[in-house]
């Protein structure tokens, strides 16, 4: 049992919602911050389905609205969290890292360098390795 002596737990987190389709991506972000504040460990965040858009670096929020993709990326960087955008979800939504941008002959990479494109195996591994998993829907 990881960290059983201190009662600290490890978590796998899946997000399904885009930044704008529902409030769930924002709720998930607040949940993650609270997990970290309590000293628990996020083993991996897996962005699946519409949540692939949370890895986008190109969206520009109006000044009086929060930029949820930026907020997620800031959290991931600040705490050095392992995060994955599902490669199948990401590619069809235009979330490309430099390698994929080159492969598909697109002019720019759109995916934040703080996250990476990978497969569903990363999610299953995370669920297997952790004390708990939680899904924030769309």
């Amino acid at each position: 049992m990881p960290n059983s002596q201190t009662d600290k737990k490890t978590l796998a987190i899946m997000v399904l919602s885009s930044p704008h389709a529902s409030a769930h991506a924002q709720t998930a972000l607040a949940y993650c911050q609270s997990v970290l504040d309590a000293g628990h460990q996020i083993y991996r965040i897996f962005f699946y389905h519409e949540a692939a858009y949370l890895g986008n670096t190109a969206n520009c929020a109006p000044q009086d609205e929060i930029n949820l993709s930026d907020r997620w990326q800031q959290l991931i960087q600040k705490y050095d969290i392992d995060s994955v955008v599902c490669i199948a979800s990401g590619l069809k939504r235009g979330m490309l890292d430099t390698t994929e941008a080159k492969r598909y002959e697109k002019t720019t990479a759109s995916l934040s360098p703080c996250t990476e494109l990978s497969g569903l195996g990363q999610w299953i591994d995370a669920v297997n390795q952790t004390d708990q998993h939680i899904i924030f829907g769309n």
Binding site: S22, T27, V35, D37
Partner: protein, 97 residues
Amino acid sequence: MNLHIIHKSANTHQSAHNALHLIHQDDYIILIDDGIYNAISQTDISQAYLNTAKRCFLLNEHALARGIENTDKNFTHITMAEFVELSLIANNNISWY
């Protein structure tokens, strides 16, 4: 104990009702996001949750954000930090969205 996390209003989403079928008598539920509206007192859905689950919670900050004060008194208001701890002691978290 499994924790059922209910995200949607029963007024617009069947998922809020569907959860009832799978809630075991030892399970807990928590209402978050628009699920908050399901805690309003004297509604059929609030009573159905209270009659089905062992304990019912709601995320206080999401109720405050929506200006909802008339929740049934049998729903326990908790913070995000308490929701995190609840989700970690559950056998499984079952999300309804």
